[in-house]
Subunit: 351 residues, 5 copies
Amino acid sequence: MNKSKKQYSHSEKVGLPPGSLLLVGEETTHPTIELYQFSTDAVSYKTHLNIADIEIDAEVVNWIHITGLNSSFVEQIGVKFGLHNLILEDILSTGQRPKVDEFDDYIYFVLRVVNFSGTELISDQVSFILGKNYVLSIAEKKSEIFAPIVDRILNKKGMVRYNKADYLLYTLIDVVVDNFYLCMDKVEMLIEKLQGSIDLPNQDNRFLTLIRNLKKDLLQLRKNIVPTREAVYKLERLETPLIVENTDKYLRDLYDHTKQLEDMTESYNDTINNFREDFMSHLSLKTNKIIQILTIISSIFIPLTFIVGVYGMNFEFMPGLHWKYGFVSSIVLMIFVSIIMVIIYVRNRWI
Amino acid sequence: MNKSKKQYSHSEKVGLPPGSLLLVGEETTHPTIELYQFSTDAVSYKTHLNIADIEIDAEVVNWIHITGLNSSFVEQIGVKFGLHNLILEDILSTGQRPKVDEFDDYIYFVLRVVNFSGTELISDQVSFILGKNYVLSIAEKKSEIFAPIVDRILNKKGMVRYNKADYLLYTLIDVVVDNFYLCMDKVEMLIEKLQGSIDLPNQDNRFLTLIRNLKKDLLQLRKNIVPTREAVYKLERLETPLIVENTDKYLRDLYDHTKQLEDMTESYNDTINNFREDFMSHLSLKTNKIIQILTIISSIFIPLTFIVGVYGMNFEFMPGLHWKYGFVSSIVLMIFVSIIMVIIYVRNRWI
Amino acid sequence: MNKSKKQYSHSEKVGLPPGSLLLVGEETTHPTIELYQFSTDAVSYKTHLNIADIEIDAEVVNWIHITGLNSSFVEQIGVKFGLHNLILEDILSTGQRPKVDEFDDYIYFVLRVVNFSGTELISDQVSFILGKNYVLSIAEKKSEIFAPIVDRILNKKGMVRYNKADYLLYTLIDVVVDNFYLCMDKVEMLIEKLQGSIDLPNQDNRFLTLIRNLKKDLLQLRKNIVPTREAVYKLERLETPLIVENTDKYLRDLYDHTKQLEDMTESYNDTINNFREDFMSHLSLKTNKIIQILTIISSIFIPLTFIVGVYGMNFEFMPGLHWKYGFVSSIVLMIFVSIIMVIIYVRNRWI
Amino acid sequence: MNKSKKQYSHSEKVGLPPGSLLLVGEETTHPTIELYQFSTDAVSYKTHLNIADIEIDAEVVNWIHITGLNSSFVEQIGVKFGLHNLILEDILSTGQRPKVDEFDDYIYFVLRVVNFSGTELISDQVSFILGKNYVLSIAEKKSEIFAPIVDRILNKKGMVRYNKADYLLYTLIDVVVDNFYLCMDKVEMLIEKLQGSIDLPNQDNRFLTLIRNLKKDLLQLRKNIVPTREAVYKLERLETPLIVENTDKYLRDLYDHTKQLEDMTESYNDTINNFREDFMSHLSLKTNKIIQILTIISSIFIPLTFIVGVYGMNFEFMPGLHWKYGFVSSIVLMIFVSIIMVIIYVRNRWI
Amino acid sequence: MNKSKKQYSHSEKVGLPPGSLLLVGEETTHPTIELYQFSTDAVSYKTHLNIADIEIDAEVVNWIHITGLNSSFVEQIGVKFGLHNLILEDILSTGQRPKVDEFDDYIYFVLRVVNFSGTELISDQVSFILGKNYVLSIAEKKSEIFAPIVDRILNKKGMVRYNKADYLLYTLIDVVVDNFYLCMDKVEMLIEKLQGSIDLPNQDNRFLTLIRNLKKDLLQLRKNIVPTREAVYKLERLETPLIVENTDKYLRDLYDHTKQLEDMTESYNDTINNFREDFMSHLSLKTNKIIQILTIISSIFIPLTFIVGVYGMNFEFMPGLHWKYGFVSSIVLMIFVSIIMVIIYVRNRWI
């Protein structure tokens, strides 16, 4: 399970000095480096660079996108971009809570790309460094979610070529946040499937297992969405020259999206809780009905069985045994008794 | 289901640049444009205008009301009124969380008109732009709720003709908020119907289904009312020359209404939760009573049936078989045993 | 039901312009006007005045107390005292959430007088206007709760004659808040009655109905008390020349009372929730005990009945049928079997 | 019940003017007055004083400790110390919510001494007035909890003789807060007793009653501790010359204690709620097991009893009746049937 | 139980003057004192010092680490370092809520080292004093968790030798916080074990006991983590010359860790609550299934047993007794009846 891997991880670092560069998660021997340099007028693109070959051009926007992590690699990146050791540690500890950190020359933003793999959620960490003229993005694993942005840059779609590095950062965070909507769709689909089957009789353990898994997924989503919202809020409030006023509007819009996502998780959570209660209510109703049948059958036939038993006794002297209408009378008696009992039960609304 | 349509929608836009103008929801080929221009003294009214024909008269209040959406149309409106791309995107994404956004020259306010269609809630988005001298309102679908305001403008009822565009905006939001009260009435009616039937015996699945649907409706209402309240609150606090001081009082009053609506949803929600608990308690009581009957019948007749069984055995040598009072004695014995058992049960309050 | 009348009411006004003077609730054709004018030294009292006869004497404190509402009457009052249309609308909409509103020349305070009528809560609205030198109080219905204040004014009891209009307002709000304590007493009494009967066996539907009604009452009280506390808090914070510093201490004390009332509703609510859970626990215990009895009786006698059945079969060749001690042996066997079973059950603590 | 006495009390005062001096609670005809006057160097102690004999010595710290209340007595105290009528009213209304009130010349602090009397909590009100050079403490009933402070003053233990009146006030509040720890011990003891018995079989109503009483006690404690914490917090924040900076550290420490007490009530409350849920879970498990036994016994023997019944019928022509191995075959058949059924049940994990 | 020892403890101090030095917990006769003095260039290490031998060297960072407590020892430490009596009292009361306190010359920080001893959590108190040039750490019991820091100091690993006393304090708090992650691992392991067994049939009391213990552990962890987070937050905000700006970044990072720990406790708590509900749901399902079997068996065979009983009666005149096909017909009748009943049940989905 991906989730537990993350959380076991921090404990491996207990006792190490703060800022120790130990990778938590899977190691990539050769991380790939891609460099995009663009202005409104021009764009260039290099891939499979070495760290030494990265050159920041102060005239254009530089986007350095790294895929894969290993500790010595991240240390060299830290030296190259002058990053604080704590940031490097955070980049390597791939179980971070989404957050934003402001330093003198750059802003660090970390969040998680969440995807369904079958019915299970997996999440990978993506770190962003926004410096003057550049954005450095470091993804734990290869992911397709940034492909549309590459397309926009290379083909001059959208506003990204007309703006600075801060807008690029916004765009990158935006696609990660948008990605949550895809997870929400899947959750909604699963909820509707449950909804359709809740009134069917003979639901069993599998229904409960579905509910439990769905709750686990939502808990996981919530754990990622809420701190992302907090981080975006903090990012919007930062007073920093790295973010120009124009980008504020976009960040506010991004915040609205994270807020809506949070609303959705809560409303889905309420819905699922109602499912469980509904399931229990239906089960109780069903148990009640079954016991009712048992009681009706039992309380009619058990007394009758007693009566026939009485006339099954082998006493020599029993009234009516040799009477011609004895049998018929006993049958009549029994019919009478059962009618009386049914009347009593119906009157008292017991049954 | 309307609700799911909305929420699936955002995911269609994943990967598109921010500000992309893609309609989420149903497309209207020819949206209608109505233009009302009024001052205290005069009023004029035009309909089925083209965008090019809209002329803002700075001397009067201009209300441009648009019904229906398509993306190229909204783009032209954006050019005409100088609106930010993010706003146009929000207008087209008809699953917005109610909110207010302030720009330099105008204020954007979006909320939802909620109505019961049968027992299901449907909600349509309405966007408002308040600029200098004008209000632009864009409704996703044709709706009758603005008819009273048209009437007030044309026939000089109420205060709307005596005030500026900000008061018109307030009036428009006010009718949308007032509309929630109608939904609340319907909810209240459904609650009272449930209340009347909760003590009836033999409630079944249908009762649970009613409760579930009612909860879903309330969740839906709450999801619209809470952010509306937040948006009205923010609108009241905005320091903008577009809203004159006199209108503040009305916005405060509007805020009180949204607050009261929120109170109502919470109090209804509590009531419904109590219904479900009541239902379960009644069911448990009923099950208890049925089992009690089963136990009384069983524990009296099962031992008796055993006794008669004993004398039904075919042993040759059994005491009393040939005794003249054997049968009568056995009956007396059985009556005695059952009386003893009833006494024991009653004493221990078991039954 | 009074409550639903109030809430249905607002929807009648949907579509009317803000500030429309439409009475929600019962109309009184001739509201009564009482005028009390007093200073430390003198007091005068007039009743059944017409609106035209009301004269505010700037040298003394003027208390105009109006009982009953109709819309044209309130409109005239509005003209007389120069009140904003929104205030007049609030006075007429007798389902207001308690609140305070500050205007340039006066303060509007609205809250509700809550009383038990039998076991049901009814609430009437009272509005207060505090202006310079005067308090205008408008009660929806005739109520005795202001009688003690009249007594204090006429007979110079307490501090009311020694203070200004702001203190009079405080005194009026104070008696309304004090009135909640009477409701709390009734709730407490009902709770103690429930408490006394919760351990009694054979509780039934009526117990659940009592709990449900009590919860409804508490919900109702809470809905009135919480906004009252908020309004008193806001009143205390208002920076207005209409309230002198000396009165602040009294308002703080009033706030403490509303806070205590809120504490009480929450603690009562917790208690009632515990009652319901207790009821369910007791019911489960009882069901468990009944099933236990059923199981003991059944699992002892059903196997025995089988054994006697075996010897009731009519096979010609059955061992022991003609043996002299056959019957006795079978009885011994059965006693032995039942003892074994009882031992097994007791050992396993099943029974 | 002490608690209800308090709460009924306030309603007796409904309609009286604010500041009315009416004692709520038990009246003491002759309250005792003790006067302690001390400085670092000297100490004097007088008891059974009259009000007229109290003399505040501005050179030393004066502690006037009063035990018992009656309304005329409190009125005289009010005159003597120049106290506001609202304070006198609060002193006499012995059901106050703990709070602090600041006046020009003095600070009023009221809280409650809570003690277990058997398994029930009783609480008495203690009011403190901190003035320049003096502390006036007024206890509703005689209590031993201030004895250690008297000891410290007379025998110069601790820091109390080295400090001013504000430190004395802190010391007095401190012993009242410390007293809550004793209640917590008792609660903890009761919880551990419950914990020890929760896994025992055959728990019954008494267990539920213990839980209910414990919850009631905790609710009561919480109702006293939370406002005490708020009041201490407010006291620490007061900017008043009556409290010197040095005492702030002690008040902060006191606040930490009240915070810890609040944590304890919440953690105990969680624990008790878990108890109830555990109880219900155990009960359900037990019911399940009992029904399982019933089902096993019934579903094995009921079909067998039917089979023997078949051969108990008195038809003349039944196959095998006169066969030599008829009886043995039927027994074999029955054993076979029961083995089949057991296999079916075990396979399906039904039993 | 360690926990109860702590909490009983405070009540032993009731009535003692504030600042009384009474040890709560186990006494160590001879606490050990270790002194580490280091700068970037040099390091020295002394152990088993006497208090008199401690010399603070203003040129380097001094770390005095004390293990074990007794009251006279702590008093001497207080004199040596000029600590406030309240601090000494807190050091000795080993049941403190984690907190930070600022004094003029030093900062006091207290928190708890939590460890699993088997399945039970034990926690020991550690106090830190940060003064100019020195950190004084006082551990209640010997613990290995500071060993890595000693290693870093002596062997110049990490940043600790390059920084001042404030960084040392951060490092010490950091290892204590890191230690919580180890507890979380254990909790996670226990949760996964539970998860693996929840769907197994025949869960019993032991499952409930595991859940109860796990909840108790989480409650305990939460009680330590939440105030630790608050204290770290407060420490970061302190405006004090004792903490240099550079250390702020580390404290912010530490805060993120405590926040993540808090998130983890809440998410684990949710998971465990879901376990309990799942357990109850499964149990209800199982009970339902068992009752269903009982009902099917009973309602088929009880009527049949009645029918055979009828023909077991000893009446002389019964139709069909002497008919050749009487027996066969009765069997056919019974098969017919049971088929009818099964059809009825299946149709109604009762079974």
